[in-house]
Symmetry: C2
């Protein structure tokens, strides 16, 4: 593993710098924007996640001698470009949606401003982080909505790339999860680590009783015992007995197979009949937001979610793109730009966004203002009474510490709760549908000195 | 980024060690197996990828003082377990399918043998690597099958976690891809890096002519010009002219939007009419194996694939599990073990596998022999005339260098080509179907001194 992020980059970003040095355009002031043309099919909102990781990645985007040596020996770019990269650090500014904020088609999630050379090289690493983390956070948000306040725990590390797993645990917390199985996420992000035992632990022992006794001896009677290795009814009996033999009441039983709804009722009844009324039930088998919703009628106390969480519950990537929307022209003035293709329409220009709220404080519209300057856009958002959505994240190359510091993750989870609560009811539905609120684009500079080309 | 892999681990693996130290079972000899109960729905074969990364991850699985401090301060495990972890290095042995080999339901892809404590802690990191890499390699293999020999290039870094992107590029090569956009994969794995320019490069310039001239000046007339920023027909004209102005013939044009089949024919005709008969056409817009198959009738020279490749083309994880299949009993003898749950059936016992071939050398069956020892299983595989599938990867804690060295990736790609070519025709079909060959389990120890419990 390397500490630099500089080669987590598509080669064409460097060849573009090389070519722009030839045409004298490498230093043109440029505005790149991260947005989604659409939400993943059927989704009603997106969730911004990964902002703190983006800030870190931008800071660590430096070409050291190892990186320069590779680029040189592989013939990726020539000496003039290598000289530029050797000195590279991002000197521009980044603003974006607060982490945890909901977003919609066309929401300008991130705005990167700098010279073309400064900003173009961040495309891949910024998109990698946001496309992954937003996809997981969106799935997490749907699951925590479905769970109606019952705790959701992230257990998907084994189903995704080993480093993606750590980022996924973090994104899950943005979406409302409260624990993770994977220890590196505990260390890196201060997330509560959870877990007790797998089936292999029971099978290691000569019988279930000795396995349970060992676990209770090591972890205390408040532990969670996995009761479905052999027969669930016998497992529950033995689990309660093991805790009591150690002088306590069992913390929880875990069910990891079979018909979880039916089992939850049976096991709850059995636990209550045994007097183990405080013993909780956690379920962990192939859950997604729909299974969680179905289990809400059952006496389940918490949900452990793996595969479907870390793979975005059917949408493993957030479909965000990184596009040049404005750049300095030959005359030194900024010009809006956009690709002409009908199938991949973009809206040019620097944009400021606000969430329009109705009289009851409920979101009704995503307002996206194409504008010449942040101030002009902000004024228009305020004039329309919308809640501003963008925050400064990097100023002239300097990270805004608040958005990546130790409190950033908790703040993101709180921001998400508030942002989701503000959406109209229809946005919370799990079924496939339209975006929860429409996006309205306006261009307050369309008729003046910021021509589209 | 850390160099150790030790915290890419689910917490329960460490609490299981803690509890097994209590019951005196931590040092029981154990056999864990990685296998899939099924292939992802509709898939006809799986592709083993990530073996070299597993070997590296096992070697780097060490708890340093930072890791121990975290585990201690977070109260994950107690002092006795921390002492064990401080000294931990994997001392057991690992065997498995060669990287690139095709696999089927029940194939024992990886067998990890050691004490329970030694082997149980590798569960998460081993599964993370294999579930991710196998999923991408399987998608890649379907795409290269569909491409019928036309080169496929990996361009999906921006659609997946930034480190997953690097592993995905590697797995794509196992599945037959021949280049990658992401530079870190070029550096780490020696994969050819590819890429020239994005739409932003054209939009940066005052017009398309000056953008193309700059790119040709920097990268030579043999470069690939992206011709669909404005009007494709004008773009092709200008692209050919830009190369000729620099004294050469254009290398290729890239199409990244619209109806690619129709456009490929139109552009080919236009190029030929312009006399640019050597100029190639590459296409890159939202491709998957079905789009590639449809494009095979069109005059396209190479495919650049992004999202669908790195997300496993609908199956982002390979559904592999890591299960205890055998362990030492109280009497010191090895015993087969398996969970009893009907919905998650496992087959106990150490297993040796072979691919049964018919008289024409075509695969007809995956033979999986549950056996007491590797030698007994190997003898049975040979007796049945099957091709043995497992290789030693780690011997008594020492990596077998051949399977992770600089030639391992090329060897894996070659192994995959040979293994896929050996499958029956039906296995190559892109449509959903049954596994290409059936799996037959036999247990040559079932009636003797390896009782199932």
């Amino acid at each position: 593993m390397r500490t630099t992020t500089a080669l987590l980059t598509d080669m064409y970003e460097l060849t573009m710098i090389e070519a722009s040095l030839r045409s004298g355009t490498a230093q043109r002031r440029s505005v790149f924007e991260v947005f989604g043309r659409r939400l993943p099919a059927g989704r009603r909102y997106g969730v911004v996640a990964g902002i703190a990781r983006v800030i870190d990645a931008v800071e660590r985007f430096r070409f050291g001698s190892d990186e320069i040596d590779y680029l040189s020996s592989a013939g990726v770019v020539g000496d003039e470009t290598l000289d530029l990269l050797r000195e590279y650090r991002f000197r521009g500014s980044i603003s974006g949606y607060g982490e945890g904020e909901c977003f919609f088609p066309g929401s300008p999630i991130l705005t990167v401003e700098g010279t073309f050379a400064d900003a173009v090289v961040l495309e891949t690493v910024v998109l990698s982080i946001l496309n992954h983390d937003c996809a997981v956070a969106a799935a997490a948000s749907r699951m925590t909505t479905a769970a109606h306040g019952r705790p959701c725990l992230e257990m998907g590390a084994r189903r995704t790339h080993e480093q993606a797993a750590v980022a996924a645990a973090r994104a899950a917390v943005v979406g409302g999860f409260v624990g993770t199985s994977v220890l590196e996420a505990g260390r890196s992000y201060g997330i509560r680590a959870i877990g007790t035992a797998a089936h292999s632990f029971t099978l290691l022992h000569d019988d279930e009783e000795s396995a349970f006794a060992a676990q209770v001896a090591a972890l205390g009677p408040g532990t969670t015992l996995l009761v479905d290795t052999y027969d669930v009814t016998r497992g529950v009996e033995r689990a309660v007995a093991a805790a009591r033999a150690a002088g306590g009441e069992l913390g929880a039983v875990r069910l990891d197979s079979g018909d979880l709804v039916a089992q939850a009722f049976t096991v709850r009844e059995q636990l209550d009949a045994l007097g183990a009324t405080t013993t909780r039930i956690t379920v962990t088998s192939d859950l997604d937001e729909y299974a969680i919703a179905a289990l809400n009628a059952a006496p389940v106390d918490s949900y452990g979610v793996g595969t479907k969480l870390v793979t975005g519950s059917g949408h493993p990537t957030a479909e965000l793109v990184y596009k040049l929307v404005s750049r300095e022209g030959a005359d030194g003035r900024m010009q809006e730009v956009a690709k002409a293709s009908a199938s991949k329409m973009s809206v040019g220009g620097l944009k400021v966004a606000g969430r329009v709220l109705d009289a009851g404080g409920r979101a009704s519209e995503e307002l996206v203002v194409a504008c010449g300057t942040h101030d002009a856009g902000r004024a228009e958002v305020e004039r329309q009474g919308a809640r501003p959505l963008q925050l400064p994240l990097v100023r002239d190359g300097v990270p805004v510490e608040e958005h990546r510091g130790p409190d950033a993750l908790t703040a993101a989870a709180e921001r998400h709760l508030a942002s989701r609560a503000e959406l109209p009811y229809a946005a919370w539905r799990l079924s496939e549908g339209e975006p929860g609120i429409p996006t309205r684009h306006i261009d307050i500079e369309a008729d003046d000195d910021f021509p589209r080309i």
